[in-house]
Each structure stands twice: as structure tokens, then as C-alpha cells.
Point group: C2
Chain length 299, copies 2
Amino acid sequence: MQSKTAYNLDKYTRQRIKQIDQALNKFLPGPRSKPITIHRAMRHSLFAGGKRIRPIITLASAEACGGLVSRAIPLACAVECIHTYSLIHDDLPSLDNDDFRRGHPTNHKVFGEGIAILAGDALLTQAFDIAARTKPTKRYSIAKTTLELTHTSGSQQLIAGQVADLEGEGKKLTLAQLRYIHERKTSALLTCAARLGGMSANCTTTQLKALTDFGRHIGLAFQVIDDILDVTQTSKQLGKTAGKDQAVNKATYPAAVGLNKSKKIAKNLTDKAYMALKPFKGKAVALEAIAGYLLDREY
Amino acid sequence: MQSKTAYNLDKYTRQRIKQIDQALNKFLPGPRSKPITIHRAMRHSLFAGGKRIRPIITLASAEACGGLVSRAIPLACAVECIHTYSLIHDDLPSLDNDDFRRGHPTNHKVFGEGIAILAGDALLTQAFDIAARTKPTKRYSIAKTTLELTHTSGSQQLIAGQVADLEGEGKKLTLAQLRYIHERKTSALLTCAARLGGMSANCTTTQLKALTDFGRHIGLAFQVIDDILDVTQTSKQLGKTAGKDQAVNKATYPAAVGLNKSKKIAKNLTDKAYMALKPFKGKAVALEAIAGYLLDREY
């Protein structure tokens, strides 16, 4: 990741990605564990060169609250497992039907639909396994952090977003309906990522609220920008099929309000994310830089 | 359930099913929660008239350890959510491809594959949500009971069984390979059901070991009997497509060792399950009756 601010985000993210990848590799059963197929499939998607935005946000949020990266790593990995599971299932033919993801063939294209479904299931289960092995803090028990994950990935948030997205295909949606989808499909897990980082650092109520606001706005901005990139970039640049939203007549911000207004909305949401970080009084430099990077992705 | 023993298993199970159904109904988002489709789909499979064998075993195990049914109910519900999720995904066209389950059309036949995948995901997530809301006991923390569930339903147990089952189709398997599948696909969750019941009652190590042995043997017996029933019963009797194992050339006990030897193995495993209950000195009457009922299912 490169940021236009003075802060060296590139160096920060490279270090953090290394730590996250090492931890994920340790948490997951080895690639030769039996049955080999399922562990290869889980690792295919988990180590497909994702940008690790969510777990990095977890770590940076912990640091903003004065916590240690080492204490935040397990919950960061749990969040990434949930994210990867949701991508595997979302890419399936009966859902978004995507052949490419992060520049690689999607899980079901390599391993078949049956194994892809099971690999997603296994990663979701793995997330709760990792979360249950995390050391609790004074304010946040294992039960609390687990409920944070179940709430976010359950039938009224992450899955609700996918259902609404599926049911909205080919329909003209209002901005409110679009926002309902984005809040659940993207913003919920980014918010959860930030909150869990704070929780791992035994954060105060004020800090948790700030991280919640930050995650929510950055999450919405992220999805608006993703919609924009789908229109403006090539498949090669995206690492996944470009122009797909338009092809399946999916409701997006550019389709609803046009490209220019979408860019303005993204900018506005990012500004609100910056504002949310005020209580950290300059200690949230990494989070600020991430917000800037997300807005400035090429479009 | 009717048992051939003097114990009134039928009355016991009717009462317990009522308690389980009431609790599941309370734990799950209401059928009118948005998005309505996903909650209808979750409830379609969860309230399809299953025999609730696993959660009943959880409750009966708690009682055998001197625990209260009310304390065991949440974990019993978590187990049933995991069981139902695994059935929904297992029934999908890319896995077992089943059109009927418990006498009703399978989830994807009613709601489509996309929603069925998401409904399974949501029920798996719901299981961990319920488990995290459970009151811990002195010996068993939320982390311990959650890890019991993640271990059982993860890539080296429940999912490993489904993978091995999928990869074994059309192949001649050895009895050891068949046992590998059964231990993971069926026995693991039945064992987990019994252990969690014990844990909810703050059981001793001896009691936990006894419940583990009981669950393992009854689980293996259960699958052998299921294989036998697939050969000897009609679809109407089973509530699902009969003769399916043979049609897809699936490895089963009757196919591997014949019908008579399969029945002997089932009887032998059930005897071992009875034996495992000795430490409870007559306090495990419900568990005994359940083992007897499972063996005596019509074949």
C-alpha cells in the first residue's frame, strides 16, 4: 500500500502483512494435514495475495489504543478468515458467479463447488476457533469478542448484505437500499475489524465508539470506491472480472448517482472517517494513512 | 421415539423436543426479521420435524451428571444448529445432491442454491452466537465449550468426513476408510453433543470420558444403522431418498461387509455404548434408552 501522506504506510503494511501471514500459517492446519484437499483449498484463498486491509485495521486500531500488535494478531486473523470465507461463498456460481479473485482463479474453479463450499465453512469455523484461543482483556471477555464476530457475520449483517445484494440484482434500488447492502456486506466487517483491535488493547468506551465510527465510514467509502473501480479499471488492474456489476445490472453507486457524485460521496465518507479519529490525538497515524490510501486507489 | 425398554423414552423425548424447539425459536431471529428470505430458509430446515437426537443427548448427558436441563439447553441448541447447517450444505447439488430431507424438500429445492448456502452459513454462525451466550461453569469456560464446537465442526472432523465421503464416491473403500468417514461425519458431533451436556453440568473428568466413549460408540452405531436403513427402507419411511447410497455407488457398511455383518457390528457398538455408561450407576437411564432406540429403528 502506498499513501500520499508523509507517513510510510507501505513499510507499515509490509511489516504487518508479514506478521499476519505468519500467524495465519500457524493457526491453520498444515497443507499436508488430512484431508489434504480441504486444507489446500482453505490455503488457496487465504494466501492468494490479499491486501489484508481488515486485519491491518485491527492491528492499527490496537496500536491507536496503546495496545500491542502481538495481542491483536489472533483477532486480526479471525477477521481475515471470515472475510476469506465470505469471498469463497460469494464467488460461487449460485451467488456472484466470479471466476477470478485477487488475480487467481476462484476457489470453486480450482477445487470444484463442493470443496469450495466446505473450504468456506471450514474457514468460518476456524475464525471462531482462533477467537476462542485469544487471551481476554479486563473489559472484553472471550464471550464478548466472539459475539462481536457472530453479530457481524450473522444473518442480520454480513449475510443479510449478501442476501439483499442477491435479491437486488436487476432491480433499480434506491440509495437507502444500496446503503443497507453496503453497511452489511462491507462496512460491518471493517467496523468489526477496528473494534476488535480496540478490544484486544482493552480500550475505553470512548475509544471503542471512535473506532466504530471510523470503521463504519471507511467501510462505506470502501464499497463506493469498489463500485467506482469496477467501472473505471480493467480486469488486470482489479485482479477480478471488471465491469461485472454493469453486466449483471447490479445496483451500484455509479449506476445510481453517476461517477462524479460517487467520487464526492467517497471523499465525504473518508473525511468523516478522519474526523472519527480525533479522540486518538495523533496516535492513529496508521489508521489515517489507511483511510487516505483507500480513497486514493487509482480510478 | 419409542424404546423397547421399560423406560418411557417417548414421553421423555416429547418433553425435551418441546423445550429444545422453544429455545431454538427464541435464539433465532424471528421469521419476520429482515431479510425475511434468509430467516425463513434457516427456519425451514431447523423446524423441519427432525428427531432432535443430538440436542436430546446433550440434555440427557447433563442430567446423567446431575445437571439441570435449563443449563444445558443453549449448548443443545448450538449443536442442533451445527447439525442442520451441515445437512443443508451436504444436500446441495455439488455435494450429496439430495432433494428430500426429513420428508420435506431440501433447502435449496425451496429457496435456491445461493440462499441455501447462506442459510447454512448463518446457522453455523448462530451456533457460536448461542454458545457464547451460555453461562460458563467452574470447570468449563466459554472458550472451552466454543473450542469443543470448533474442533468438532472443523476441517479435521465434521468437514473432513464430508470431504472423505465426497472423494470416496464410486471407490471401493476399506473398512478402516469407511470408519474414518463415519467417525468424523457422524460420530464426532454425537460425541460433542454428549460432552457439552456434561460440561454444562460441570462434570468430572471421569464423567466426561464416559460421555466421550458413549458418544463415539453410539455415533458409529448410528451411521452403520443409517447405511442399513438406506438399503432396507422406502423413501417414505426414511423421509429422504432411499437406495441413494447404492445408486451413487457410495461406500457403506452393507456394501463392504453385507447386511448381516453390518447388523452385528451395530449391535456390538451399541453394547459398547451401554458399557460406557457404567460410571453413572443407573443415573443415565435416558441415554441408555436412546441407545436402545437407535439400534431398534425398523430394519
